[in-house]
Symmetry: C2
Subunit: 306 residues, 2 copies
């Protein structure tokens, strides 16, 4: 889990994921030097103040100079323009990767700008918190979480293997997946649930008959977990929905179909339908705990989140 | 936070809430003797084995004999029949209460059976976990959580004050609220979010193109929290939706209206609408943290739940 994997790594964009990558790389000594760049001068100043990156640069081009690995950690919608900007100065033999939540769109936006002799290995770490910005990162973010590599046709297996070693060194479990399948799986496990949580929190905020203070004061089980999800970075999520449009709309269609069936069961008083449905979903939870993706501690609705 | 409030308390139904009440009452010495009854012989045997209740009885009538406080801890749909059964043997001057998640229906089901000289003070502790059964309770469940008292017309203020003292002694903050308002607030903060989580987990389970194992394996941020919510007790939740039908259907109508607006924004690529919406919901999360209803720790999507 340690030993240098890349001589120089450049992080473009210095939010939650990039800052966690920096601390995770430092923890295991995975990179010789890590440079960083953020579009906002304020973010760059914060990064310098807290020692995030060995060197914070004032342009993306400066940051990627001589880098063996360049990781695009910007919102999905900004990946293309950033790649276009840095392409002319990339070192031959370098690898470009990213951490975007959507993969087909990132590949289509980045690949046309890829110079001859530069490898491209898209990636997506399935880890995050509802916080964002350069100060939100921590070395343990990827520990025992999945990081999915989505190599494109013609990607050098050696470049993929090296990036895998980096992610494993940062504590992650690594799998490889096709881009379209990735986008569908994530639409189910992450994108649609986020949209639904955002919607429910918005509805609560709109209701005039239930005052804000009551919704907040009594936000125990259920709603409170939704607000946590719905506190995630707005720019990142806007881009996710706009760039994984087809899969999200497909899953949303399935969701409303099922919701209407449950709504009809409530209206008609069909208790058996409801009970069967809720029994089935309870079993899925057990599978997730058995798969080691969450603990069985009864913290739901409790203040035990440390 | 201590001192005896009732001489004898009877708990009817021995699930998560009743068992937590028992341990919380013991912790603070709030009751002289606590009797208990559960319909299932297996539950009664478990209760006897783990020392849940000072005395486990084989009938509800036996358990409520000479009780100063009887708390109905059964699913909302079972409240009426249980009350009808125990009514003839209730002590004059006793108080009947409950812990149901819906209040208007419980009042309508229980009140007709209330004998002369017996007080009725409905209550609802906003606390729980996704676990159920007699072994799932713990003394701290209500600490710093809200318990809502919903006194009906003509309830003796003295009986209400005494029940308030019990809940405060068990660690809860107590508020009073009108039954219809309670049911609407809970439809927003708890009932509809639960239905939505159940639906989303069911959709994921149905999808044949995304194998079960993938949904489970990669269930990081978002979906995993939904599965926790969707693992709650099926019988309890069936009864909640059947008995808080009007408020749930009203909030569901609002929800689908908003969801369709966001769906249209995704389809038409209206990024500004999405970004504005997500920025607004993020602010609500901050209010909840400031109100002390959750911590700001970045555990979302992480395995840090203890």
């Amino acid at each position: 889990m340690s030993g240098q994997v890349y001589g120089r790594v450049a992080l473009i964009g210095l939010g939650l994921i990039a800052s966690s990558m920096f601390w995770a790389m430092k923890r295991a000594g995975l990179a010789g030097e890590v440079t960083g760049y953020a579009r906002s001068a304020e973010t760059r100043a914060t990064a310098r103040r807290i020692g995030l990156c060995d060197r914070v640069c004032d342009s993306a081009r400066e940051a990627v100079q001589d880098a063996d690995l360049v990781v695009l950690c910007v919102p999905v919608g900004a990946m293309g323009p950033v790649m276009e900007d840095i392409a002319p100065v990339l070192k031959t033999g370098a690898t470009v990767s990213d951490v975007g939540s959507v993969k087909r769109h990132v590949i289509e936006a980045v690949q046309p700008h890829l110079p001859e002799g530069v490898h491209f290995v898209p990636a997506h770490p399935l880890a995050g918190t509802e916080h964002s910005g350069p100060e939100s990162g921590f070395a343990e973010l990827f520990d025992n979480r999945w990081s999915l590599l989505v190599p494109v046709e013609g990607t050098d297996p050696e470049a993929t293997a090296r990036l895998r070693a980096l992610w494993e060194g940062m504590g992650a479990n690594v799998d490889e997946m096709d881009a379209d399948h990735h986008d569908l799986v994530l639409a189910v496990t992450s994108h649609t649930p986020h949209l639904i949580a955002y919607t429910m929190v918005g509805v609560a905020d709109d209701l005039r008959r239930v005052t804000d203070s009551e919704v907040i004061k009594y936000s125990a089980a259920g709603f409170r977990d939704f607000t946590r999800i719905a506190a995630s970075d707005p720019t990142m999520w806007r881009d996710v929905f706009l760039t994984n449009k087809d899969a999200t709309l497909e899953i949303l269609g399935r969701f409303t179909e099922e919701l209407f069936a449950l709504q009809r069961a409530i209206r008609t008083g069909d208790g058996a339908h409801l009970h069967d449905y809720f029994t089935r979903t309870r079993a899925i939870r057990r599978s997730i705990i058995e798969a080691g993706q969450d603990t069985d501690a009864p913290d739901f609705g409790r203040g035990q989140k440390k």
